[in-house]
Amino acid sequence: MSQLLIVDDEKNILKLYEKEFREEGYDVIVATSGLEALQKLDKNPVDLVILDIRMPELNGVDTLKKIMESPSKPPIILNSAYTSYKDNFLTWAAEAYVVKSSDLTELKTRAKEVLKKHSKANEAS
């Protein structure tokens, strides 16, 4: 069972995502800030991070940078209400960029695709 780390400072969003992804059959842990996410990442093996960008203190882009520097380096899907961050090349390190929508189909599809791609890569290595 793949473990997802969902990071968002909006508790309602976290609640929705947690419920939806659990129903999809994922093991879900959540964090309400970038710092908390980094801490949880240290203690838990995570297969995919779904990361909000606009967060107080450590924002999503900086968190992404830190995660990419961490030893586990799990793949990341950026999930933001903003499209403008696509223009920031720092976000290109993410596997995907999905704009927030009440229709979670795209986010779920992308999560599935990324995990599939990574499990294949891991098997190959």
Binding site: S84, W92, Y97, S102
Partner: protein, 704 residues
């Protein structure tokens, strides 16, 4: 009283006078010609003294307006009151009666005769009167002195009197000394007339060696001087006349030139001035101006007939129209150039670069001097080319100078009358050219100032417009920021609302009432999210992130995404793809957005179902995508507006979809337009260049 029968005795008493006069005789009328009584009295005194000494009876007739004693020392024996005089004839009758009362050998002095004549206004009759007196006295063997005053009689009358009387003496006072000259003695002109005698203390002395030859020389000299003076006077008169004419001409023309700022009209008036009979009277005139931008001397306009026949026709026409010079000057109209087509054709052939220094006209221009050019006029220049062009033997050329700069040349000739051009003509032309230059320059300056003012006005308008645009764009950008912030803020809660509603919907039995309500929430949230996407795309459309894409594939993806909706609306889709379509570089996300906006529009126009046509074509430089529907169509007045922001005919949607589509295509350097017929449907056509100019080189592809 021993009356002498011969006046010889009289004159012998006057020793020197006797010698001069060779003895007046009884019967003589001696006329004194004098300037004033100052000259007369000493002389009359001389004579009366003598007469008294000789006991010769003397009758003194003095004519005056009022009886008064004359300062002669004599008591007048007869004073005629002129105020009572009826006529000269009456006077002669009275005189003759007086003569008849006396014996012979009486001496009469007739004083102030010229005054008498003047009063009577009968100069001509005086000659007759004197002739009568002379005859009467000859008859009676008496004699008379008659005094005439120079200033009161005309030269002609004096000359007639001189011819009519036997003795004529001229008396003059020069430098307060009294002189006399015997002009005519005993009916002959005296050889003494060229000598001057001075009257001094009762006797007469030859004054100077004013001999005949000397007098002749003096006369010759004087006549030469006179002729010179006369010639000068004539020249001055001519000059004055010319200046007067020039002045009135110049006045006419300058006032006419100043009354307009239209350069063409000024040029016309200049040429009329040169050619009009009342003006300088040349047959033809040509005006050449320097074009400073192109560094050329260019023939501008000309006036004048092409032949004698035409000249006669024009001149007769002008005469019958009775135009004054001023009217002629003001008769400028747009068609005037059409009237003198021939000369204008000639003048337009003249176009010479200023750098061609050896060319006659350029040389004249540089020389800044007026000149007459002709075959027969010696010159170092080579005028043949221009003489041939103008078809004349000679012409006058005058530079148009303004502040020591040549504005052009004024050429004038007498083709028709063949009259020689004189130095005077050229001088007049030059005077005239100066005024013409000033007028041309003024018109040019006026035009320049006007253009500058217009330019300034235009700049001010542009600045104002720019300012307005800036203010507007600042407001819009602030509004945009606000919209963007709000849109993002709204999006997050919508995710929760829509997301949970969706989750709840899934857990409901499909036919439960809550299921329907939840569905409504989900759909409305989706609609809000779509509007937010549109608004955000409008506010910041983003730079195209291009990568080579298969357009047919993109169309397929869009149709796949919209398939549910199309089926729901009973719309059938036809594909007509170009098979040889190689990938082109576009931003696939943005192009998808464009296609979805157009297809959405098509779906909404076909509420009762219909046909959607998708086609791609390959052209040389671009790929064309056509999307056609069988919907309601767009009326002509709305066709131009469909791409405007916030334009919509629907009650739903942001009204931004097609505007964003148009912006995206423009950012891709492509074009988008719509063809439509109301009731038949619309076709949106997108052309995308196969080579994207100004392509962002840093763009890498991000596989999402």
């Amino acid at each position: 009283m021993p009356p002498s029968t011969n006046l010889q005795t009289l004159s012998s008493g006057l020793e020197s006078l006797d010698r001069i006069l060779e003895g007046p005789q009884w019967g003589d009328t001696i006329v004194f010609h004098l300037n004033s009584w100052d000259e007369y009295y000493p002389f009359i005194e001389l004579i009366t003294n003598f007469l008294q000494v000789q006991n010769i009876p003397l009758h003194y007739f003095a004519f005056s307006e009022k009886p008064a004693s004359f300062n002669t020392g004599l008591s007048p024996v007869f004073i005629h009151d002129l105020s009572r005089l009826e006529s000269l004839e009456r006077l002669s009758e009275e005189l003759f009666q007086a003569f008849a009362q006396n014996d012979s050998h009486v001496f009469y002095i007739l004083d102030n005769v010229s005054e008498l004549v003047r009063m009577a206004g009968a100069e001509k009759e005086l000659v007759i009167l004197l002739q009568k007196i002379s005859a009467e006295l000859t008859e009676r063997q008496a004699a008379a002195y008659v005094a005439l005053e120079r200033n009161l009689l005309s030269n002609a009358t004096v000359a007639q009197i001189r011819d009519a009387v036997p003795i004529f003496l001229d008396i003059q006072s020069i430098d307060s000394a009294l002189y006399f000259q015997p002009i005519k003695v005993q009916g002959r002109y005296s050889e003494h007339m060229f000598k001057r005698y001075r009257i001094l203390e009762g006797s007469v002395h030859p004054e100077s060696a004013l001999d005949f030859e000397d007098y002749a020389r003096t006369l010759e000299k004087k006549s030469k001087e006179f002729l010179e003076l006369y010639a000068q006077k004539r020249d001055l008169e001519k000059d004055l006349q010319k200046k007067g004419f020039e002045l009135s001409l110049v006045n006419d023309i300058t006032s006419s030139l100043l009354s307009t700022m239209n350069l063409d009209e000024i040029l016309f008036r200049i040429l009329v001035g040169v050619t009009a009979q009342e003006g300088l009277g040349f047959n033809r005139a040509f005006l050449l101006l320097v074009n400073n931008e192109e560094k050329m001397l260019e023939g501008k306009i000309a006036i004048g007939p092409s032949s004698l026949e035409e000249a006669l026709r024009i001149w007769t026409d002008l005469k019958t129209r009775h135009l004054t010079f001023r009217e002629l000057l003001a008769s400028f109209d747009k068609e005037w150039e059409q009237r003198d087509i021939y000369v204008n054709q000639i003048v337009r052939k003249i176009r010479i670069p200023l750098s061609e220094r050896s060319h006659l006209l350029i040389d004249l221009l540089a020389h800044m001097q007026p000149e007459i050019i002709g075959y027969d006029i010696p010159s170092h220049r080579h005028p043949e080319e221009i003489l041939r062009l103008l078809e004349v033997r000679s012409f006058a050329a005058v530079p148009l100078l303004f502040r020591k700069r040549s504005l052009g040349l004024l050429l004038a000739d007498n083709l028709v009358t063949q009259r020689d051009i004189t130095a005077d003509d050229v001088e007049m032309l030059e005077t005239f050219a100066n005024y013409a230059s000033a007028a041309i320059q003024h018109a040019r300056l006026y035009e320049e100032v006007r253009t500058r003012i217009k330019e300034s006005e235009r700049h001010i308008h542009e600045l104002e417009a720019m300012q307005n645009r800036l203010i507007r764009s600042k407001k819009l950008s602030e509004l945009g920021e606000l919209a963007s912030k709000m849109a993002h803020e709204i999006r997050t809660p919508l995710v929760s609302i829509g997301g949970f509603a969706n989750a709840m919907l899934r857990s409901q039995a499909p036919d439960s009432p809550n299921s329907e309500y939840l569905k409504i929430i989900v759909e409305e949230v989706r609609r809000l999210e779509a509007i937010i996407s549109d608004v955000l795309a409008y506010v910041s459309p983003g730079i195209p992130r291009t990568k080579p894409v298969d357009l047919n594939g993109i169309l397929d993806q869009v149709i796949f995404l919209m398939n549910v909706l199309l089926r729901e609306k009973k719309i059938r889709v036809h594909f007509n793809y170009a098979k040889d379509l190689s990938p082109i570089k576009v931003d696939p996300d943005q192009i998808k957005q464009v296609l979805m906006a157009i297809i959405n529009n098509a779906i909404e126009s076909m509420s009762e179902g219909g046909e959607l046509g998708l086609a791609t074509h390959r052209h040389n430089d671009f790929v064309r995508i056509s999307i056609s529907d069988t919907g309601t169509g767009i009326s002509e007045d709305k066709r131009d507006k469909v791409f405007d922001a916030f334009f919509t005919t629907k009650s739903t949607g942001s009204g931004l979809g097609l505007n964003i589509a148009s912006q995206i295509i423009t950012n891709h350097k492509g074009s988008i337009y719509v063809e439509s017929q109301v009731g038949m449907g619309s076709t949106f056509i997108i052309n995308l260049p196969t080579i994207l100019l100004g392509e962002e080189s840093h763009v890498t592809t991000l596989d999402r």
